[in-house]
């Protein structure tokens, strides 16, 4: 836990396309930003849900994939030197004398003059398999992410899934765990071919075991797992003893802490005005998929527009004495200096 407080003009919650472009619009107006996201990389839905799918409705870009859009936004906002805090979730926002204090689940503290909520559909959280009674084992025997590898030392570990997370953790935990078993419903894997090959090699050398099937029942008590029942593709079942289970079934979006920030909400969305995109709390803005107003469309395009208008209002809060002069990036040498092209 760090006790140092990070002081900045603006904190942007969410590094989806809309949060990223907000860095640009704020940057043009000299508002410095820190960006926080629970994911381990930028891009929000574009990077997490559809990195390889094409988007056709970004103005002047006839076709771009979710990942390309993210990469190009990162390039475009690079001159503004925003700082990124990935793998961190903003848990609380508190009003302080000169703005707001935010604290993340890692204990990082921020103090800023404006908060920009670009939280999209909410925090990405791991999908919880609907196995009866699974809640009782969570954080003692069932984990959806690995924070400390040491916790799995000398344990029998079961990993479920066939994607990159399942395979990466199979490879990383194999040297640490007492034994490691990977369970997946089929023998094909949707993961980096190199990881699949390494995993196969570990199976061949007898260092891990791979079993085909799907977990149907958990066994144990008092939060301590003793084993699971696995159903094979032929319909037969077998028991697999284990201390630990790590299910990797992808991520889903849950509103999460946004609900606890004392803002007005309408069906899990934050109502804003359409001049400033400000919430019910002065100095806290909401842009992108998370906000709502008459006529709202959940489009990247709309989120970009919202960011531009929000930035004007944010500037007035950060620099109350400065008058904003409207400028074009094409012709303003001042803006071009900020962009690093002059």
């Amino acid at each position: 836990m760090s006790v140092d407080v990070i002081k900045t003009d603006a904190v942007i919650i969410g590094a989806g396309p809309v949060g990223l472009f907000a860095v640009f619009e704020l940057g043009l107006l000299d508002v410095k930003a820190h960006v926080i996201d629970i994911l381990d990389r930028p891009g929000g839905q574009c990077a997490e849900l559809y990195p390889e799918k094409p988007i056709y409705d970004i103005p002047a870009i006839p076709i771009v994939t979710g990942q390309q859009l993210t990469d190009q936004l990162m390039e475009q906002i690079e001159p503004f030197g925003a700082e990124y805090h990935f793998n961190e979730r903003v848990d609380t926002i508190e009003k302080i004398e000169d703005g707001f204090r935010l604290v993340t689940d890692c204990g990082t503290q921020f103090e800023c003059k404006v908060v920009v909520i670009a939280a999209g559909g909410g925090s990405f959280t791991p999908k919880r398999p609907p196995l009866p009674g699974i809640e009782a084992y969570e954080d003692t025997s069932v984990f959806y992410s690995v924070r400390k590898m040491d916790a799995f030392k000398d344990k029998d570990v079961l990993i479920v899934g066939g994607g990159d997370s399942a395979l990466d953790w199979t490879l990383n935990l194999q040297p640490v765990a007492k034994s490691l078993t990977l369970v997946h419903r089929r023998s094909e894997f949707r993961a980096a071919p190199a990881s699949v090959q390494k995993m196969m090699d570990l199976v061949d050398s007898g260092n891990i075991s791979f079993k085909l099937g799907q977990v149907t029942t958990l066994h144990g008590d008092n939060g301590q797992l003793t084993g699971v029942t696995v159903k094979s593709p032929d319909g037969s079942t077998f028991e697999q003893p284990t201390d630990i289970m790590l299910p990797f079934f992808g991520l889903t979006m849950k509103l999460g802490p946004v609900a606890n920030w004392g803002l007005n909400l309408e069906e899990n969305l934050i109502p804003v005005d359409t001049a400033k995109f400000e919430t019910s709390e002065k100095g806290i803005f909401a842009i992108g998929d998370i906000n709502t107003y008459p006529g709202k469309l959940k489009l990247i395009l709309s989120g970009f527009h919202e960011g531009a208008l929000m930035a004007q209002a944010a500037h007035r809060i950060v620099y109350p004495d400065k008058k904003l002069i409207f400028q074009y990036t094409t012709s303003s040498s001042n803006l071009q200096k900020k962009l690093g092209v002059k």
Partner: protein, 106 residues
Amino acid sequence: MARITFIQPDGSENAVDAEPGMTVMEAAVKNSVRGIAAECGGACSCATCHVYVEEEWREATGEPEAMEEDMLDFAFDVRPESRLSCQIRVTDELDGLRVRIPEKQF
């Protein structure tokens, strides 16, 4: 027009009319059929539109393509008759189609 019947886990049935060209997921969502979450809106990226195709319709609906098969890894209780309903396109040949909705979408 094709008539599609969704069978809930409790055995109750909803029959809806679908236009050829739309997907089975869209037919469900448009008619507020319970149990089809379709969080990603049909982009084959969420697996919350999982259905079990009744045996006699499996040939007509066909097998999942590679992308759909990959996404089925993120569904629960996947069976040989599992499909993602956003990847089944409605045709006149599917008039009468019956699909079962799983206990849980996740």
